[in-house]
């Protein structure tokens, strides 16, 4: 007994190159699809993690454009703005506040960094409040500085790697010609803390000659407090900008949705191209087998049998394309990630594409659906071939 599946499968082996090319076309669209779905998931997860790892829910910065503030905070970029230190007292008194931590960011160009020099980011933090707020940070070596005027630094994992420092080593600050002692090195956290060099905020103020100035104030709100109402209150403060991390997340997600729509359009186009490719391939093979299909009918195949035969061929093609495509999505996820990163306004640290079993199933279902839909027309065409027509077209 020979099953209809076997007949379908063997039909696909007739024109191998064509079959392989079609499978490859479907695989490409499955790859785009899987990567896109994985991206949606991965991006949001990475972004949430980045933001939760800040340790505070509200950030005060000097007045400026909110987008700038957002990127400044997340990327640690240039164009710093300053606010006065007394804002700490003003905010600490509010009943909703659990804890505040002042921060002073400084960025220095280091000509000895890397091949052509690079940017070093120094973050002045309060030795008392900052470690409490970022209690999830773990040390590979040493620990936090405790003296508010200490000439000491704590290095993020990557910063330490780059500068090749161990706890106990000295670190030279370029331009300032001062050496600070490395007292701690953090474990990798997968956030921007990895690349940061921390020192006491007062030390930064002295070294960089910014007495009484801050670039940011992180505020941790009490658990049951009404954050929205609290933010409203903060808007009353002069010369400061209130950055709600919930809003920042929303803003970035909005920016990203544009990129997402683009990627999504690419995916839809890829799917359409794959569908057209499948329909074309199957239709061609139906026309080539015109007489043969007529003969199948004369040996007892009902129209539905022929429909199934062609339909199964299409679904097999798509299934194989789906398998290859999801394998590509896994195998090439690093490359896909680089491609997508270039399209995004802001890319969080960590992996942007998260692939899992559910996603594989979703991709496979979509691809099989492509097969089911695009197989219908050729299958219907084939089912309508009458046994006689095939004998006629013999040309005798």
């Amino acid at each position: 007994m020979i099953s209809i599946y076997k007949v379908s499968f063997k039909n696909l082996l007739r024109k191998r190159t064509r079959t392989i090319l079609t499978i490859f076309g479907i695989a490409l669209s499955a790859w785009v699809l899987a990567s896109l779905l994985g991206f949606n998931k991965g991006y949001e997860a990475s972004l949430s993690r980045d933001i939760d790892n800040m340790g505070f829910q509200v950030l005060l910065t000097a007045k400026g454009c909110p987008y700038e503030a957002a990127t400044l905070m997340l990327k640690g970029g240039t164009g710093l703005r300053y606010m006065r230190e007394d804002v700490v007292q003003q905010v600490t008194g509010e009943p909703e506040v659990e804890r505040v931590t002042p921060m002073l960011m400084q960025v220095v160009f280091d000509p000895n960094k890397g091949e052509s020099g690079g940017i070093s980011a120094y973050l002045g933090v309060d030795p008392v409040t900052f470690p409490k707020m970022k209690s999830f940070l773990e040390f590979r070596q040493g620990g936090w500085f405790t003296d508010p005027d200490a000439m000491e630094v704590v290095m993020g994992y990557e910063a330490a790697e780059l500068e090749q420092r161990e706890a106990g080593d000295m670190l030279l600050i370029p331009e300032k010609e001062v050496e600070l002692k490395v007292v701690g090195i953090l474990k990798r956290s997968g956030t921007q803390d990895d690349g940061t060099i921390f020192m006491p905020v007062r030390t930064v103020q002295t070294l960089f000659n910014k007495p009484g100035e801050l670039t940011g104030l992180g505020i941790k709100v009490k658990q049951d407090a009404d954050i929205v109402a609290f933010e409203e209150k903060l808007y009353g403060l002069p010369d400061v900008q209130v950055v709600s991390l919930a809003q920042v997340k929303q803003t970035i997600m909005n920016l990203v949705s544009t990129a997402r729509i683009m990627v999504f359009s690419i995916a839809i186009i890829a799917v359409l191209i794959a569908m057209v490719g499948v329909i074309n391939t199957i239709l061609m093979s139906v026309f080539e087998r015109f007489q043969e299909i007529g003969i199948l009918k004369s040996i007892g195949a009902m129209p539905w049998d022929i429909f199934k035969l062609i339909w199964i061929e299409t679904v097999i093609l798509c299934f194989m394309g789906g398998v290859v495509g999801t394998a590509m999505a896994f195998g090439l996820s690093k490359i896909t990630e680089v491609l997508i990163r270039n399209l995004l306004p802001y890319a969080p640290t960590g992996s942007l594409i998260q692939l899992d079993a559910r996603l594989v199933i979703m991709t496979m279902i979509s691809v099989l659906l492509i097969g089911v839909v695009s197989g219908m027309y050729p299958a219907w065409k084939a089912a309508r071939i009458r046994p006689l027509e095939s004998i006629r077209s013999e040309g005798n």
Binding site: M1, K6, V7, K10, N11, M302, P387, L388, I391, N396
Partner: protein, 227 residues
């Protein structure tokens, strides 16, 4: 089976080509008894293929009455549904043609079993090895059609047509692509099938000696039976 496997009365098939009408089959009446071996001859374009296609329910006649095994299939322009026709075709008929139409990616044995994918008569499974043996293609059963000679391919096509135990075998120039020796072999095979199994055979051929192997020869001229 009825005494008459096929019975036709004033069967007519008219093709319209533009304003011209071609009476490919013109008021033909004939009876073919169960177990009979009939050959159909006539010049090219005389209507042989059209006649046997209509008799084999592959084509609808324009007019006339066609009865297969006592069942009315066509009665003056009214025919059974396509579904019912398919059922009659697969239960009663086996067809072979000048071209063999084997599936190139399936082996000889798989090609012969192919009809089972769609329909299988009780006990038909045993036919495969019997036909392989009877048609002398046993040693070829695992080969692909591309590896066979023309005569062997036609025998595979015959085996495929017979695997579901049809009552009537319709053969339209089955030896048209074969040389004289292969043609004679096919002729002998058909005679054997007719004599040993009582298979009803209608054979269209241009080959006079092959036509003579049949018990009766019908000559067609311009769509009519020539007495």
């Amino acid at each position: 089976m009825n005494e008459n496997a096929i019975s036709a009365e004033n069967l007519t098939k008219i093709y319209t080509r533009g304003i011209e009408q071609v009476h490919a089959v013109d008021h033909i009446s004939l009876d073919i008894r169960a177990g009979e071996f009939v050959s159909v001859v006539g010049p090219s374009g005389s209507g042989k293929t059209t006649l046997i296609n209509v008799l084999g329910c592959l084509d609808n006649p324009t007019a006339g009455i066609l009865t297969i095994d006592g069942r009315a299939v066509f009665t003056d322009g009214r025919s059974l549904s396509e579904r019912q026709l398919t059922r009659i075709r697969r239960e009663l008929f086996g067809y072979i043609f000048q071209k063999f139409y084997l599936i190139p990616t399936l082996t000889v044995e798989e090609n012969i079993m192919l009809p089972f994918t769609f329909f299988r008569k009780d006990g038909a499974s045993e036919n495969v090895s019997r036909l392989l043996h009877l048609l002398g293609i046993e040693r070829r059963k695992n080969h692909l059609p591309g590896q066979l000679s023309g005569g062997e391919m036609q025998r595979v096509a015959i085996a495929r047509a017979l695997v579901n135990n049809p009552r009537i075998l319709l053969a339209d120039e089955p030896t048209g692509n074969l040389d004289t020796a292969r043609s004679e072999e096919i002729g002998q095979t058909l005679t054997e099938l007719n004599q040993k199994q009582g298979l009803t055979i209608i054979l269209v051929t241009h080959n006079p000696s092959l036509a003579q192997t049949a018990q009766r020869t019908i000559t067609i001229h311009d769509g009519k039976i020539k007495k």
